[in-house]
Symmetry: C2
Subunit: 226 residues, 2 copies
């Protein structure tokens, strides 16, 4: 019932899908980076930019969805392409959620910038960079169909979980020592939790890559989605 | 290129998809309910049951994905069915995430049960019930293709956001008054945040229903996904 595609047309569609997904994830990564930079450099205008950028990321999700569904409808893809398109529909959602995390981080940063600094910012930027890198790697693994790289992402996500736990313990100490810092510390906790969730989304994407490449579903076999 | 389906076979497939999605979301809702009950009744064994149940929910996601992709491959559905199948692939992911929230809630409850009680549990069970109800309604709206009901879900999600903000403020007061409660209070904050995210997922599902029924994409038009 399916037919093999030897035409360049279909290949072009798939390439366009990958390109748009990469463009979307590039913007999303930039949001994480800029939201963190807004905190470190105490720049409310940069935080504002990130919040405004979220609409653009959301529009890209809708466009990619649309292109996926049109491809499904018109091209009647074979089994492996079908799995690929199904994966794109899911991955684009993870990317969009990471975009939301970027925008939410920027919102919390805006609030924090109205209050005095209270803690040297060392761990949080490192955690943000790690999250960005894991996310980028998961997309690289997807577009290159690289299952080994995907496995690496799943391992690295656990590192991010550990960084979060450590930061949480540190912030708890601050809160207990000086209850006046509780409200601010909580905002840091939520920002860190966001970065930890970026890792979870990246691990989800990576599990999907392993599934696509090896035809083996390891989703839910790891503890990635927490 | 697509063909109309007048056969009962295809209708049966769609019905089976809906049934499985409902079975999965029923289990997921039960996890939220039981995790909350485990906290109120201080039952570690009930919390354990919820954690164990997550595997079953995860397996259902994989089965539904598989059925969706096979239907796409074999039935070459027309445009509206295609949109429906694309929506199922996305919705099943939201449901699975809600399942994770249930399991994570149960894990935090297990930790809390090892510590003494410190606060009357009034708001959290109410918030949990509201989240369950919004979630159930979003699925009802989906299987009945009821856009009005979906709009209701989107409105109700905002109520859940308000409940979360109020609970957060209350817990902040506890923490400031007695820093020894900070660690436990934080667990309550995370549980409440989980329920708030259930509402976000339900709102996502509801936006997809409006899209399916009215052919109008209101995703990202609301502030549902935060």
């Amino acid at each position: 019932m399916s037919r093999r595609h030897t035409s360049g047309h279909y290949d072009n569609l798939l390439r366009e899908l990958k390109d748009r997904l990469l463009a979307m994830s590039g913007l999303t990564e930039q949001s994480l980076r800029d939201a963190t930079r807004a905190l470190v450099e105490r720049s409310p205008s940069l935080a504002r930019e990130v919040i405004d950028r979220d609409d653009q990321i959301d529009r890209l999700e809708l466009e990619i969805d649309d292109l996926c569904l049109r491809t499904l409808a018109l091209e009647q893809p074979v089994a492996s392409d079908l799995r690929f398109l199904g994966a794109v529909l899911k991955i684009v959602r993870d990317v969009e959620r990471i975009g939301d995390i970027g925008a939410n981080t920027a919102k919390r940063v805006s609030e924090l910038l109205e209050e005095p600094e209270f803690k040297p910012l060392v761990d949080l930027p490192i955690m943000s960079r790690t999250a960005q890198q894991i996310f980028r790697t998961s997309l690289d693994a997807f577009v290159n169909a690289d299952a080994d790289l995907a496995q690496q992402v799943i391992r690295d996500d656990r590192m991010l979980d550990d960084m979060y736990e450590q930061l949480l313990r540190e912030l708890l100490t601050y809160m207990m020592e000086d209850p006046r810092t509780i409200s601010r510390s909580l905002k840091f906790v939520f920002i860190a939790k966001g970065f930890e969730r970026v890792g979870d989304h990246a691990a989800n994407i990576a599990e999907m890559v392993v599934f696509l490449v090896r035809g083996q579903d390891i989703r839910h076999g790891t503890s990635a989605d927490r």
